[in-house]
Symmetry: C2
Subunit: 316 residues, 2 copies
Amino acid sequence: MAQQLAIGVDLGGTTVKTGLISADGNILATSKLPTRADENPQAVIEQIKKSVSEVLKSTNGATVAGIGIGAPGLIQNPGGIVKNPPNLKGWDVVPLADEIAKEFKMRVEVDNDANVAAVAEAKFGAGKDYPNFLFIIWGTGVGGGVIMNNQIYRGPSGGAGEVGHISINYEGLLCNCGTRGCVEAYIGQKYLSNRTIEKLRANPNSKIMEVVGGDLDKVAPVYISKAAEMGDKLATDILVEAGTLLGVMIGGVMNTLDFRLTVIGGGVSAVGNFVYNAITESVKKNVQKPLRDGIKVIRAELGNDAGIFGAAGMVL
Amino acid sequence: MAQQLAIGVDLGGTTVKTGLISADGNILATSKLPTRADENPQAVIEQIKKSVSEVLKSTNGATVAGIGIGAPGLIQNPGGIVKNPPNLKGWDVVPLADEIAKEFKMRVEVDNDANVAAVAEAKFGAGKDYPNFLFIIWGTGVGGGVIMNNQIYRGPSGGAGEVGHISINYEGLLCNCGTRGCVEAYIGQKYLSNRTIEKLRANPNSKIMEVVGGDLDKVAPVYISKAAEMGDKLATDILVEAGTLLGVMIGGVMNTLDFRLTVIGGGVSAVGNFVYNAITESVKKNVQKPLRDGIKVIRAELGNDAGIFGAAGMVL
């Protein structure tokens, strides 16, 4: 029997990247088109349709289960409605799933980047042997996705998994969102880099300065990690603290959901293993005893293709 | 057509309370027997069987959907296995669901007190019009239950809903469980009463002293609430702070699950409405914007009968 196929669309601010994916995780065809984000929703929708049509030429007669789309902004589900994506001009409220389904007469699912990346790891990546886990996207901000019984858990209105805005200190740092103590306000890439820059003023001999060639604008978690691996104490302290704080939040989620596994993706997930050790230790400290033995924190496996894999995974 | 019936068993340290409950929430028969907790598991199991047999006499030929049991200790699910309940002698690991199912040849579900109370509110109480909510039991400790799609969410090993041990301050008070900053360490009845007693030493003119007749051993949230309602500032501050801290934790759970409603039961839930207002305000501050409008925090409706209602509700 021919394998089932699905189409995954990664809708970015500059590029629409589309892949024809097989159920066992092979990319059979891809298409890349400019998003035309600075025009209007209809122009962008046309680009999506065009890129889907392109990869559809490669199905070789096999069944296509549907089309998944990872989109920026707030996604209302059920319904696949995109609301106010930051990088797409004129998108107020767009019923994207309907628009695409009308054209291709097949199932269409739309979800946000974090949920799509979570599905990618669940179906094809680090989480594929685990029916339940928390996925965290650790980058500029901190986002998340909840995989429950092998499926993405979206919640009643599609907003589940906003774990970056869980407060880990009610007296803590003020987050951009207005809440005090969000874990994002401690460990989001920008916040973390800015606090590092402040500390560097008092510690100009840190190896972090060496790694970024003296250019403070370059300070970022991956470079801090490099300095830590060169034995720099400041760099190590900063990232161990970040991991420990992330673990506090993860522990709370594990206590709520009775989960054991966390998979971490996003730009900052490239930091060294010592950070993962710090996260794991902290999660163990922050969960109830019966959960402690099983706690695991691992790195996401899919890189740039997570978007098309996860989008396709939503309909497979 | 005759209504469906179910049997609910509330297994306590001193009494086994059993009810025959109809699907529309009427108690058709009850039985109360001593638990015989100081003997051995078999003695207790015999008491459960006896009490179930007693109420079964009142079915009048109607179908009984099954038997639900609310038990102390850690419950492993699926399986309904009771582990180390604090008040039952000799119970190490007891497959309670199996033991009871063998006797009555019907479906048996076992769960912990917090989950059972959550089910009671979902089927018959404050949550009956809501498919998704967080139930909190605010008493000596702080426990919880997650109602998802009209069902109790137990998690992969039956341990979900341990929201009392979510940290709201990684630098905060040390909880009995070993974690720092658990919300229970701030607002659990004992912790809250002890901190109030400390504050009373510096504020001996507080109306709390009047309400407890000068007896510091009597200091408890419901009395603090009474003093607050008499206009006492110290009492008001203490409970508004407790509600605010509870709201921080609830906000984190709402962000994770995309829920809007919280139902609060347990001994402390009898505090005045001003506490519920403080909780609600705090939850709104601690959730992402799209959730804010829908946030609601309400009082549980079922009192002492929550145990048998919820236990029956698990099999209805």
